[in-house]
């Protein structure tokens, strides 16, 4: 009897030890997971803090080195060689090309999404989805090579039809077309998943009321999926604003602006950040961070704007949920 009890006590002590150790590992790993989560969450804040603190430097330095903040934000000339940094027209150019590109892609994306989800069946639908996915997977430098070799030529020939000469096709229009192509896959993917998420009842109800399938698609289903479509539009615009390498290959980097003529060369925030890469110090280098800060502000404001528009849209069609 006593023997069994001793055995039990011994093993109990052993298990208690193991339990304690295991609890220790549990706590350790739980903390590791938590740290990883916090690191991931902190990154975006760190990015904002560090890039901004570097970006404000050109406006704070000693008097002769300092860049005038007001001219930086509203200026219409960018001559890094002469120390003139007016980013105002660049902001406008960026808005023009990105928003126009996005607006060009949006209807195409919605129409394609309707075809993929509501008209095409089976293999054809998969095939069309594959096209969109492939377009989404193509890296932006490859789009850049295509744009520099094909889109610019197209634009140049088009301009020649009107008797306008271009800088080898490098122009706002070329950038707009490129950005339309590059934002299309994002918008289509979001529109497809939005349409798929629309409840079946809406479809059936509309059909039961005598609407044709096509009418149902465009009058009921697409409006019901507008939230996803708006999200896709925002994501697409975000990509358009931030797209750097491909755009800088065909923007032409205008020295003054804004460029209202679609056949004229342009300059975007990102193409400005990528010019004069060989500089590694001095104001020419530092100013890039300031442009980066402006880019972040533009993207965030655009997000807020689309978000507000989305809310109003949702309120207007409140009955449809």
């Amino acid at each position: 009897m006593g023997n069994t009890n001793e055995n039990y006590m011994a093993s109990e002590a052993k298990f208690a030890k193991i339990r304690k150790r295991r609890r220790g590992t549990d706590v350790l790993f739980r903390n590791l997971f938590r740290i990883a989560g916090v690191i991931a969450a902190m990154m975006v804040i760190l990015i904002i803090i560090f890039v901004t603190s570097r970006g404000v430097r050109p406006f704070l330095g000693s008097a002769e080195e300092r860049v005038d903040l007001k001219y930086f934000l509203t200026g219409t000339r960018w001559r890094a060689d002469q120390g003139i940094y007016g980013l105002g027209f660049v902001i406008i150019n960026t808005l023009i090309v990105s928003v126009t590109g996005g607006l060009l892609a949006l209807p195409l994306a919605i129409l394609s999404a309707v075809l993929i989800t509501r008209i095409a069946k089976g293999k054809l639908s998969i095939f069309l989805t594959t096209i969109v996915e492939t377009l989404a997977a193509i890296p932006s430098v490859v789009y850049g090579v295509f744009a520099a070799g094909k889109i610019t030529i197209l634009v140049r020939d088009l301009a020649n039809l009107f008797g306008i000469s271009t800088y080898g096709g490098n122009s706002s229009l070329a950038v707009i077309l490129l950005l339309a192509i590059m934002t299309y896959p994002t918008m289509t993917t979001l529109a497809v998943s939005g349409i798929r998420a629309v409840p079946k009842e809406l479809d059936s109800a509309s059909l039961a009321l005598g609407a044709t399938p096509t009418q149902t698609s465009f009058k009921v289903i697409v409006p019901a999926a507008r939230s996803s479509i708006a999200t896709g539009f925002t994501l697409g615009l975000g990509r358009a604003f931030g797209e750097a390498t491909a755009v800088s290959m065909i923007a032409g980097n205008a020295l003054a602006g804004p460029s209202w003529n679609p056949f004229d060369i342009t300059r975007t925030l990102t193409s400005t950040m990528l010019t004069g890469l060989h500089e590694t110090s001095g104001i020419d280098y530092e100013i890039r961070f300031s442009v980066g800060v402006v880019l972040m502000i533009v993207i965030v404001s655009m997000n807020l704007l689309v978000h507000a528009a989305k809310r109003r849209l949702e309120k207007k069609g409140g009955a449809v949920s």
């Binding site: 990883a36 209807p107 972040m296």
Partner: protein
């Protein structure tokens, strides 16, 4: 259905077809453009060759067997000129810079050209420099019967048809050989890209998986978790050029403490590691959530701890999804350019090292497209490589997810 309705519907439907048709046409146009420009160029020397052309001057000291004759392995083409005594063949070609070059098309294994040693002063002096097919010959110096040094070759503006017979007739021994290994290859960038992939994943995957586990198993439904989630969402929306700036302002000072200086592959990798976090976390969390909760419950009921359950039951069951997440991350690294331009620099290296700057394949394309005369051919050739890699990775992800779907259903 009225007739007008029918017409309206048909018109709307045809619009959807036109929209998808445009996207298909654009995709085909991109592929045709890239492949038609780059496919001709894409061969071994471009894939595995150096980018920078290398001049080589070789000297020969061995006596040459005067009576030796070599036979080419296969009938050569008309424009190739053969030296049977020295065992090589040369062709007059136009290179990428539109210059005439005399390219070696065949060098016999026992040809004296294989025994050259570098004569240029420097660390490589005295090292063997065997001439191989693909190199260009600019100048050849030999000693004739009377012991006189004679120079022949393109350097003397002779065509191969002119100088090879002279060599055949008079040469007793070749003494010097000036050649050029043509550049325009992508090996350096390929190696740099592989390094970048390895290092980025090394930093990113553990943090990504751990953060996903945090969101899956530990985070409570509260404001903090909401904040973490939306921060990661925001990170996904940050343009890659901003990541480049983050690399310089945030990560560079950190790695400077460990002795790194300036743009380097390690800086690029750490930057990419941050850029990849949202993709990895989202995909991994999704994979974890797709594991039936009964697995975890069964494991816990059997007395396994939370850590054991996570590492022995949940993670192994989610391995397909996590593997897919890593493949997507690799495909993102291969295609990324803007985040690497500032962090890794734009100097194309033939032998990259982790601590110094280099270009990935995508950045090499960017560099080639810059400047006055963009090199479309090489840029397209590299684009083909990138496209094949990226599309293959995406296809693998699809296959993996289709397989695990099937398994899940069974």
């Amino acid at each position: 259905m009225t007739r007008i309705r029918k017409i309206k519907d048909t018109v709307m439907q045809s619009f959807t077809w036109i929209a998808s048709g445009i996207s298909a046409w654009v995709l085909v146009a991109i592929l045709v453009f890239i492949f038609s420009n780059g496919w001709k160029l894409l061969d071994r020397s471009v894939l595995f060759g150096d980018y920078h052309a290398k001049n080589i001057v070789s000297g020969f000291s061995d006596e040459h067997d005067v009576n030796a004759t070599f036979t080419p392995p296969e009938p050569l083409e008309d424009d190739e000129v053969i030296s049977t005594r020295f065992g090589f063949a040369v062709r007059d070609e136009i290179d990428k810079e539109k210059n005439h070059v005399h390219t070696l098309t065949w060098v016999d294994d026992h040809s004296p050209l294989r025994n050259g040693k570098i004569t240029t002063a420097g660390p490589t002096q005295g090292k063997p420099a065997p001439f191989k097919a693909g190199m260009n010959i600019n100048k050849l110096v030999f000693i004739d019967g009377s012991g006189e040094e004679i120079t022949v070759g393109r350097f003397k503006q002779q065509s191969p048809q002119e100088w090879i017979p002279i060599l055949e007739r008079d040469a007793k021994q070749i003494t010097e050989f000036h050649g050029k290994e043509p550049g325009g290859g992508m090996r350096g960038s390929l190696v740099a890209t592989l390094m970048l992939i390895g290092l980025s994943l090394l930093f990113s995957v553990p943090i990504g998986i751990f953060a996903a586990i945090y969101l899956y198993a530990i985070a409570k439904q509260n404001r903090l978790t909401m904040f973490v989630r939306s921060s990661i969402e925001l990170l996904a929306g940050v343009p890659s050029i901003i990541f480049s700036m983050m690399g310089i302002t945030l990560i560079f000072p950190i790695i400077q403490l460990f002795g790194a200086s300036g743009q380097s592959i390690i800086l690029g990798s750490l930057t990419m590691a941050v850029l990849l976090l949202p993709v990895l976390i989202r995909q991994t969390e999704e994979a974890l959530r797709s594991v039936p909760s009964s697995y975890a419950q069964a494991s816990l009921a059997l007395g396994a701890t939370q850590t054991e359950t996570l590492f022995r039951v949940v993670l192994p069951s989610a391995r397909n999804g996590i593997f897919s997440a890593c493949l997507l991350a690799v495909s993102r690294i291969i295609g990324e350019s803007a985040a690497l331009i500032f962090t890794m620099g734009t100097a194309i290296q033939d032998s990259p090292s982790v601590g110094s700057g280099a270009t990935s394949l995508a950045v090499q394309i960017y560099v080639l497209m810059g400047g006055e005369n963009p090199n479309f051919e090489l840029a397209s050739a590299i684009s083909i490589v990138i496209l094949i890699l990226v599309l293959a990775l995406n296809l693998t992800v699809k296959v993996v997810s289709a397989l695990s779907d099937k398994k899940g259903k069974a």
